[in-house]
Symmetry: none
Subunit: 200 residues, 4 copies
């Protein structure tokens, strides 16, 4: 069941690893995911192609890792959501921030690339959920639990479902460009989600 050739990870060149991931990130921003090539990454990173193939199984895996690396460092505590005691206000703040983030053209290419990868590769999807989505989601749920304790959300609300109802429409509009992505939309989503899961 093990892979046929297992390079010795202790000998791995950290310099090369970082250079490859950096080059991949830069190139995605510059030429987009579709026109990204392993050769270009290797050239930009000053690395032999084999060094990429030795440690990653596909272009998608490199790209994925390069984006994953972005969200690291701030692992754990750093990603708590604001808690003013007013769940509606706090969620609107957060969703408006998300909307603003999506509007940043800098994030456009990499995030579309990431989604393209995840849609077509179940394995990467699993890693994505574990490494990138899960911590953020947990932070969000923590805030929701606080709201439940404060009686602002039904005590038996399915928090996963709540988050999906809240975020999926946002993500869909952005991905499919199926409608305006503005503060009004963010607010409307928060209102709808809170209505759907209010106490009583």
């Amino acid at each position: 069941m093990a892979s046929r050739k297992t390079p010795d990870a202790t000998r791995r060149s950290e310099r090369s690893r970082v250079a490859i991931l950096t080059a991949a990130r830069e190139l995605i921003a510059e030429v987009g995911y579709a026109k990204l090539s392993i050769e270009a990454i290797a050239a930009r990173a000053g690395v032999g192609k084999q060094t990429i193939y030795r440690w990653w199984s596909s272009k998608g895996a490199v790209v994925f890792d390069s984006l994953l690396a972005l969200s690291e460092g701030a692992d754990g505590e750093g990603i708590a959501l604001p808690d003013t005691g007013d769940i509606e206000a706090d969620l609107k703040t957060v969703l408006r921030a998300t909307v603003a983030e999506f509007a940043d053209p800098e994030f456009e290419a990499p995030i579309r690339a990431l989604n393209t990868e995840i849609i077509n590769d179940a394995e990467l999807a699993a890693i994505y959920r574990e490494k990138m989505a899960a911590p953020v989601e947990e932070a969000k749920k923590e805030r929701l639990r606080s709201a439940q304790r404060a009686g602002q959300l039904a005590a038996d609300a399915d928090l996963d479902l709540f988050l999906e109802v809240l975020y999926a429409p946002l993500a869909q509009r952005w991905l499919l460009r199926s409608g305006p992505l503005d503060d009004a939309f963010a607010d409307a989503l928060v209102d709808a989600a809170l209505r759907a899961f209010r106490p009583e």
Copy 2:
């Protein structure tokens, strides 16, 4: 000074058009979107490559057309939703059907391919919304208006938002494989959406 290339659509070979679209559909199902090539489509269709390039601007466009063709024929009236008078029951019926459809491995490859295209190509996204999404959406909204008239939905409910809250989480789970996609989930979504937009 005139545009360099304007093929005469009246002379277009219908036989070739159909063969290309059919070949594209078959190949997507067989090898997936990523490994699909124009050359393979041409070979399978018994067509010169130029005949493809003459009428479509990119691989995505061919693929897109080939999938678009699937949803045609039943244009207009055919896609009305059930209306038993009970919006909750009707929506659950429809969403459960959608869930079942997504579970069909036959649809897997083409729909993921379609989404990959749409995510990365704004123009195709527009055509998709106009040609494929809009008619279906309109049918759904028609049913919702009926529910509004029956007092089962708030009179001022934003129907677009309602549909997004209802369908986006479904689509997201399927695309990202972020959770089970079953009848229970469908029912929970309908319940949440109806709670968010109930009258009063």
Copy 3:
């Protein structure tokens, strides 16, 4: 028994064919056979690698053809040997010329390349004999027959053997650098060969 893919020779680009052969010849002279690469030939010829692989099966075949092309044009009559009536004088003239030719550094690289190919590829060896060696050999034998008629050579002399005795030592010295390659050696070879095959 036919090759798996047979390109249409009538469509072949003469421009590319000539450019490839020319580039190959130039590069052999410049960098030698061992360091010659298909990629370099393609680049120099302004041609895609596939165009080379389409028409030749190996680097050796290209190189071989490029050298073969050199000896064409003068096919047939052009290669008669001098016939003054004195076979000894004539052979010495010819062998001294051959010695001089071998001393030309311009010929060094290509001819060594040619021999390397022929030694290791029986098929190329056969083509070489038929296309390059045979015509020259026939011309030489014609001169020897004239000498036989003049009574300067045994009437029953094996002319093939005569030529081998005459030329093989020359070629060997050059290839293996096993001794000086000068006029004295040429003369000595002619003397020995004539002694071995004199009349009576």
Copy 4:
């Protein structure tokens, strides 16, 4: 300012040296010279690549050494030619044996490899002549001197030339596959050489 690299020969691992040479010989026989790689030799010999590069300057040098090793052991006296008093009979015996040796497919690959190396590398050619060719040649010349003393060969015959006239045609036919290599040919060569250098 001293030479950068001077491995200490006294510390050299004999086990590795032999394993490398053996592996090289085996691989030449198995895959031929052209497809032989340093990495394959190292792997087969259970040796690090550096150990090869430390002691040999090129692939050719390794191959050459591996073949050279074959002809050692019997250095010096062992390689005397038969001397029955009849030079014609003795030479025919020897040449027929050589012909038989060339027909052995076991020798095919290595000897062609050796020649390929020698043709393209003047330095190896010099070593070859000194280490492999010279002793054999001296033995042959010793037999010829005996024939001269017996009056079977011209007293002033150039023995080097004699050997070239005798052996070069043989080697050429084998290398270029330019004709049958049989006993008849061997006999004809001996006859021709003896005619060329007979007394008087």
